[in-house]
């Protein structure tokens, strides 16, 4: 599903975020990316979602080389990937339902079918009764679950999550991890950047150290 081949990412003025990174993630696999703060975890996820471009090496997602991806093809790649961001990126002027609806509107789903899917996704993360709530009215854990619902509502084959359990108390973090496990069970490939690998005991672990993979 994902293949990195000697990937390097250098930010101006010459900071190497990633160097010589090579790995593969098979379909339906759950992989954790660990490492200290600033080790390059977020950068790695951004390369997969083509938010950043590799300075050298090849990033392949679903067999597609991202360096050759045209600007016009980019949105269609992103629609196949669910993303949970470190800062969640919820829209605070839209309620829970509308936030989760956004990816389906973008993809042009028929409204009725889309609404059913949104409700199913909200139910799945335990927010079925909060669909009218604005994000500010939700707790930190609920906001994180809302972000997950938005990431999975389009039924992506690949889910990327950047520190999904950071800033959450232990119990809420467990809830969130359980939700991820459930999605993994139904066949979603997962790449999760996290310190909290104990929450995902079944997952394979990659470890980044100053932009290099340690095995």
């Amino acid at each position: 599903m994902i293949r990195f081949d000697r990937v390097a990412k250098r930010y101006p003025p010459g900071v190497d975020a990633l160097s010589e990174v090579s790995f593969e993630v098979a379909e339906r696999e759950m992989v954790l990316v660990g490492g200290h703060s600033g080790a390059g975890k977020s950068t790695l996820l951004k390369l997969v979602a083509a938010i950043e471009q590799a300075t050298s090496g090849a990033v392949l997602v679903g067999g597609q080389n991202l360096s050759g991806l045209s600007r016009a093809a980019l949105p269609f790649l992103r629609r196949r990937i669910g993303m949970v961001f470190q800062d969640q990126k919820l829209l605070f002027d839209r309620n829970a339902f509308q936030n989760v609806m956004l990816p389906l509107s973008i993809a042009g789903f028929p409204p009725r079918e889309a609404a059913q899917r949104v409700r199913a996704a909200l139910d799945k993360v335990g927010l079925g009764k909060r669909e009218k709530a604005l994000p500010v009215m939700l707790s930190g854990g609920e906001q994180q679950r809302l972000a997950i619902a938005r990431a999975v509502v389009g039924r992506p084959g690949l889910l990327l999550a950047d520190e999904p359990t950071a800033h959450l108390d232990a119990e809420t973090a467990n809830d969130v991890a359980r939700i991820f496990h459930d999605f993994h069970q139904v066949g979603v490939t997962m790449l999760i950047a996290t310190y909290a690998h104990e929450l995902f005991p079944a997952a394979r672990r990659l470890h980044l150290d100053h932009g290099r993979l340690r095995t």
Binding site: A49, I51, A72, F76, L77, K89, S105, I106, G108
Partner: protein, 299 residues
Amino acid sequence: MKVWLLHHRDAAVLAWRRLLAVPLNSLLFVLAIGVALALPAGGQMLLANARQLTDRVSAAPQISVFMSVNADRATATEVGSRLGGAAGVKQARFVPREETLARMKANPGLREAIEVLPGNPFPDAFVVSVTDERPESMERLAAEYRRWDGVAHVQLDSAWVRRLEALIGLGRNAVLLLGALLGAGLIAICFSIVRMQLLVHRAEIEVSDLLGATESFVRRPFIYHGVLLGLGGGVVAWIVTTAATLWLRAPIADLAKLYELTLSLQPLSAMDSALLLAVAGGLGWLGANISLGRHLDSC
């Protein structure tokens, strides 16, 4: 195709909601645009009415050449043949004084007055139509005829119609100029408003991009925002112009009556109204597009 329609509907609804979210701001913007557009629209309304006035009056200009009352028929015949052979004359029709007298006597009011007068008070006359109908060349011909022997008076008919037409031509240019200037103003207003909108909705633009929105999906609500503002301004301009028409109708009819004209001021025609709305919406679209081209990448 269905998805495309769906996207357009969603974008229009979103733009409409955003306008309603700040009703006072939106109203003031629409008023500003409307008042700006009302000036050229009102000018067009007045022009259309003035043109309707000139259309009703024959605009084919003629020169009337009146002989001196004392001039004999031989002199008149000579003037007639000179006119017939002169350059620039299309046709010179001779109106003998007897014919004029008979025509005037046919009017019962004038009949008695004419009968107390000794002899025929009317002179022989010619009605000359010319090939070159420009006012300045007609003036030149008239000046030439005035110098001829036996000619007492030369009058340019319909000269005032020509003057009015020239004024209308000037008015049309003024309306065009005004329209161009205020249209540029409208583009500038929409440009700024859409820029502010882009700043306000920065988070949404970023998130949509990350969720796989195409560029046109992101641009669409902002385009609709500009178009709706422009259209709203167009509607305001139409209302202002129509209200002004009704308001001015009675005083202008009174004024026209003093000049023995009947004039009922008409509002903008359906064609002009449609044009006004199309131009207003189009300029809003243009302003929004320029703003997106300039600012979207920096969001």
